[in-house]
Symmetry: C2
């Protein structure tokens, strides 16, 4: 009840603040154009069709960088560069999982990034079932010797993606924990919210001094099936074949392009997506759509006339396998005058909320942006904006202001890191709403000379 | 408008016919119990967990027969038999498809039953695109020499499954047509209505004298991707590896069980499902659910007291690969006194319509059944019932009466013959509605001494 009253009071306050009124007519015109956008879809269609999967460090990622440079040139951006760096590269091999007894059948499995190999012949061992990661953590040291740990969980879809924080650790740290407890291998229930036979890959990491073990993700129907088998009470023997390899240092890189502003003394806006994808799908929602959204939005701003601030596009490389591109950018470009960072890397569904992390003096700017986003069905959040994986380094290094356009993530973990991340999952209408939201923010901030310098950190 | 009036008139007529009034209290009580049923789900859960995929002619199908015999015994059925027969068996090998140029990437493919092998090294050839099967049929003889035919189509979901009749032929006869025109191989867009990276397998057949060619189905997102590539205008080279084998005559079999009736002079009711499944999924909707539905319904009738007519359950073998079980039953059991045949083999979603093919004299019985099904939300159709694949032979041989309980097939071709045919796709509430509908029909016909002899065929 208290909450309702506060909301009403908030709404009344908004109505009284002229800066929070609906967008001015030039911004409305920009939104109208962006809501007809085909550039973002064209980028997603092109990357998924002409390149497809583009795992970091592979030829496919290199072809994707060439594709990106050509596309950004065609769209009229300036200062287009391919900035390479080297990074250690892991690639997938064969992958099968078969229950040997008591109920022989194959299970759909995929190796997690950085998994060790079982060798070509695989390994067969008894499954030890843990309903949650906490249960694995509670297992006695050495109790898993020679066994395959099986960690399940109950990840459910959430609009804000918060369930990934709760259930993702089964993948992030589960294998390391199982290795330390002596397990021969681990399989987890995929960190996902769908019910298809497509497992969700993604990186896992082993601490220094811990010998990596084979680590796989079962599709959710297969994990449920294995749970049912285990619960029948007989020992379950699983044969696991995963033959990934570490192929050493390989080249990856960032693609950078700019819409130059008229006043170089104002700090630039850096907007990021990532160009690499996991190898199983074609990287439509993760993250061709992000590249499509930020690029289309910048193009609409370009078409409306030169902004005051430079808008820099970062199509980062090697996000999935350890944020190599974002980190390389954060180091290499530390000296450039940045004012604000933003990122799009949560699919292609509609933006529902805007969050800010701006200096107190820029409150009128935030009010203006929040007001201008209202016609797009976007509310204002109270959480401080934090950016995303590929702008973390530059935000941290340069103490940058941030704006987050939060996307609806309800469907995101149905598709994330699976073979099902393909073009047909993109809803063109929702994609256009993203472009309009981004164009709105870029236009307002790009034409504002408000001081965006963040207070020094304590 | 005319239609509406006719519907109202029909309804009024129904209200005036006492035989079409809502079900009598004993049938209502049976429906109430069946709507609480757990037997059907238990059968689907057991078969998918303890056996999983059970392709005809394999050890898994043999284990499934043992499982079925044990389950039917536990449920209290009589005269339980495993009736074996031999049949030629084809099994899957490796299967990959990769675009070699101009846009290198892997496509998700599966071999169609009876596909030839490409050999371990596979074959690489140019793709020739046909938007429809009719376009393939129109291609000049010899025009496909050394090429891979690619047949697409636009199958959409339909409640009555009629789109399978329209678009299934790309699979049924497309490979034979391509082989006759000299193609090195064929890939088709899966005969399915989903958008997942799981191709739909299923049998194809080559005429005598036509040398089989490698024949695969692409998942729908992959077929769409290949279409987009082809439409860009450059020749598309595809590498296809399919290594299935024919392993000769293997044993398959039918499992038969009975609920004996009190009056052997009345013909029996034979009710069928099939026990085999395709190898990719666990055969939950195709057709563990059918076996669950017919068996649970017969069990509820058993619990309500011995019926007059014998109810015989046929869990047929080897349906998917050529109706071997149904045909074996039709020959071996021709001499048994049958009165009526029914089958459940269209998933686990709700029954929405009942169709009849009964002699004119049994009209009051049909009216009674249609009335009793109304509380379950089931309308009466005007199409003559035709039964299903596994009762075709006995219907034809013995000129049997038939009742069809039509299931909602809207989701069926999302899952049909894919890895995604798993337990989690079963909606327990809809499954129970099926059991209640079947129990209603079996109870009414099982306790009726109406003459069901069909008029002799012309």
């Amino acid at each position: 009840m208290k909450k309702t009253i506060r909301m009403i009071t908030g709404a009344t306050a908004l109505l009284l603040s002229t800066s929070a009124l609906a967008a001015p007519s030039d911004v409305m015109a920009l939104q109208d154009k962006a809501l007809q956008d085909d550039i973002a879809y064209d980028i997603v269609e092109g990357l998924t069709t002409e390149i497809g999967p583009r795992q970091a460090g592979t030829d496919a990622e290199a072809r994707a960088r060439d594709w990106a440079v050509a596309k950004l040139k065609t769209l009229g951006f300036s200062n287009i560069r391919n900035e390479p760096y080297m990074m250690p590269t892991w690639i997938r091999g064969k992958e099968t999982a078969s229950v040997v007894s008591p109920f022989p059948q194959k299970l759909a499995v995929t190796a997690l990034g950085n998994s060790a190999s079982t060798g070509e012949k695989g390994l067969t061992a008894e499954v030890v079932y843990f309903p949650t990661l906490a249960d694995l953590m509670a297992a006695a040291d050495g109790s898993l010797k020679g066994k395959i740990a099986f960690v399940s969980h109950a990840m459910k879809a959430t609009q804000d993606g918060s369930s990934y924080g709760a259930f993702g650790p089964a993948r992030f740290v589960g294998p390391n924990i199982a290795a330390k407890k002596g397990a021969a291998a681990i399989v987890i229930r995929s960190a996902g919210t769908d019910h298809h036979r497509n497992p969700h890959t993604g990186n896992t990491n082993f601490e220094k001094g811990v010998t990596p073990i084979p680590a796989g993700a079962l599709s959710i129907p297969d994990a449920e099936n294995l749970e049912r088998m285990v619960k029948r009470g007989q020992p379950v023997q699983l044969n696991l074949v995963l033959t990934p390899q570490n192929i050493g240092q390989q080249e990856s890189g960032n693609v950078i392009a700019e819409l130059p502003g008229s006043d170089p003394s104002l700090g630039m806006i850096v907007i990021a997506c990532h160009l690499d994808s996991w190898d199983l799908g074609t990287g439509a929602i993760d993250d061709a759509s992000g590249c499509g959204i930020i690029t289309a939005a910048a193009k609409h701003v370009m078409a409306a006339g030169q902004p005051k601030r430079t808008i820099r596009l970062l199509w980062a490389g090697a996000e999935e396998v350890g944020l190599w591109g974002g980190n390389a950018y954060g180091e290499a470009r530390k000296g450039d005058k940045h004012a604000l960072a933003m990122e799009s890397d949560f699919g292609a569904d509609r933006v529902w909320r805007v969050d800010f992390n701006l200096p107190e003096t820029a409150k009128p700017l935030a009010d203006q942006i929040a007001g201008a986003l209202q016609p797009l069905g976007i509310g204002r959040g109270q959480q401080p904006a934090s950016g995303g994986a590929d702008v973390q380094a530059i935000i941290r290094n340069n103490n940058l202001a941030v704006i987050d356009l939060q996307q609806d993530g309800t469907r995101y973990f149905d598709l994330h890191h699976t073979p099902d991340d393909t073009l047909d999952k993109i809803d063109p209408e929702q994609l256009r709403q993203n472009v309009a939201a981004w164009a709105t923010v870029l236009s307002i901030v790009g034409n504002s000379d408000a001081d965006l310098t963040m207070p020094a950190k304590e």
